[in-house]
């Protein structure tokens, strides 16, 4: 009977999963775009901009995600900005992810030899063209390992959005076992399994991408 109820609750979990995936993807896009801009701003921008970005990174890396969610969802409404939970969660996840992604992209930029920019300028490219056609493609390729790690982190951290009322996977699970306490263990195990399968699949998929776009000669080979 427990199994039947469990199977019967799969569609509901699936609804939660859709929200989880949506939350992950949108937050990740926000984090990536902002992260790249911040990395470029810190490396190529002027001192004031670079400093502001530095402060941003320090703040968003120094506060737990739960606190960030509460600040965005509850505190903003105190000053009249009322966000729905989903939007608040995207902002929280995205802005925090940007702070971590900026570090990934910055370290990629720093591992690109200085000569690349110099050579691009020497054939008449403006700095912007050089970044767009020479630096950025290389940053993206070099960042794949770090980025795929961030992908799984954001995915797992969507579960914290539960705390501000987003009806993602965890919350749907809670609705299910709130009605039938006997299902607590089973539901949570299924949820854990779903996360696990997603994380493993993403890692495998991105590992394939990493191999495909590897720029030979730039990585350090560690011989064991």
């Amino acid at each position: 009977m427990a199994i039947e109820t469990l199977i019967g609750s799969l569609p509901q979990l699936f609804e939660g999963l859709k929200i989880t995936v949506g939350l992950t993807i949108v937050s990740l896009i926000l984090g990536s775009v902002l992260g790249i801009l911040m990395a470029l701003g810190r490396v190529y921008g002027r001192k004031p901009l670079s400093f502001l970005i530095y402060i941003y990174e320090k703040i968003f890396r120094g506060i737990p995600l739960l606190v960030i969610f509460f600040l965005i969802y509850f505190c903003l409404s105190q000053i009249g900005i009322n966000l729905n939970p989903f939007t608040a969660a995207i902002l929280g996840l995205g802005l925090r992810s940007a702070a971590y992604q900026a570090q990934i992209y910055r370290s990629s930029i720093n591992s690109i030899p200085e000569g690349q920019m110099i050579a691009a300028c020497s054939i008449g490219m403006s700095k912007i063209k050089a970044i767009r056609y020479v630096i950025l493609p290389q940053i993206l390729r070099l960042s794949i390992p770090g980025w795929s790690n961030e992908f799984t982190i954001v995915l797992k951290d969507t579960s914290i959005a539960f705390s501000i009322g987003v009806i993602e996977l965890m919350r749907q699970g809670r609705y299910i076992y709130a009605l039938d306490h006997e299902l607590v263990l089973q539901v949570l195990l299924v949820i854990a399994l779903i996360y696990f399968i997603m994380v493993i699949s993403i890692n495998k998929g991105l590992s394939y991408l990493e191999k495909k776009y590897k720029m030979s000669g730039l990585e350090v080979e560690i011989k064991r």
């Binding site: 054939i123 008449g124 490219m125 056609y133």
Partner: protein, 247 residues
């Protein structure tokens, strides 16, 4: 009006004076070779000419346009000045072909097909037709440098600056690069910083000897090797010739 005119260039890094008043000029089709001990500002001079490292003082003109003028569009000027680097600096994420065509596509705004065709021609010119689809990491040093030369040639520059183009190469591979440089001499002006005395002697129209940020002496290869006027020139050329062998 000279094709290239360099007047009274000064450059200091921190407390070190790297260039201390360098002036010279070049005409169309000329090949000039700059020689001298390391650290005497030769590479810095090249980078001052195309403003990769703007000089503290002094002016540069290319075909009558003042390069050092802040109002001049430096990106337009740089299309006319090719640069070949000691460390090659090929774009790692692009094939040899795309390394050569990217400037044509994105800077000269050529159509993709046209750009690729021209790039193919330039690669053929430097003897790398078959390496078009290889990435820099798959190429030998000499091949990389030849792609670098093709990349510079593709932009149809008035002059190409060579910054110790063979210094990072295995001795066996130097010959290929020098052959390519020899083959383009006369078609495009070349200003070459090098230790390759054979090249200087056989290909240069004028040899410029620099030390401590100044031009000590300049003259035709014949003058410089057989009859240098300044003692220091004689000393340097004598040492180098015996080290690198006469060609």
């Amino acid at each position: 009006m000279h094709m290239l005119e360099v007047k009274d260039i000064h450059k200091t890094y921190g407390k070190t004076v790297v260039l201390d008043g360098v002036s010279f000029s070049m005409e169309k089709g000329e090949t000039k070779v700059i020689i001298g001990p390391s650290g005497t500002g030769k590479s810095t001079l090249l980078r001052c000419i195309n403003q990769l490292s703007p000089p503290d003082k002094g002016r540069v003109w290319l075909d009558g346009v003042e390069v050092t003028d802040k109002k001049t569009n430096i990106n337009d000027i740089r299309q006319k000045i090719g640069f070949v680097f000691q460390e090659f600096n090929l774009f790692n994420h692009l094939t040899a072909l795309k390394n050569v065509s990217i400037g044509l596509e994105k800077v000269k705004n050529m159509e993709k097909e046209e750009a690729l065709k021209k790039a193919q021609d330039e690669l053929k010119r430097v003897g790398l037709k078959d390496q078009a689809d290889q990435y820099p990491a798959q190429l030998s040093g000499g091949q990389k440098q030849r792609v670098g030369i093709a990349r510079a040639l593709a932009m149809d520059p008035i002059i190409i600056l060579f910054d110790e183009p063979t210094s990072a190469l295995d001795p066996e591979l130097i010959g290929d690069v020098l052959e390519v440089m020899k083959s383009i001499a006369g078609e495009v002006s070349m200003l070459v910083v090098t230790h390759e005395m054979g090249f200087a002697r056989n290909v240069a129209d004028e040899i410029i000897f620099m030390e401590h940020g100044k031009i000590i002496e300049k003259g035709t290869p014949n003058q410089m090797f057989k009859n240098p006027k300044i003692k220091r020139t004689k000393e340097f050329l004598g040492k180098i010739s015996s080290l690198y062998g006469e060609e």
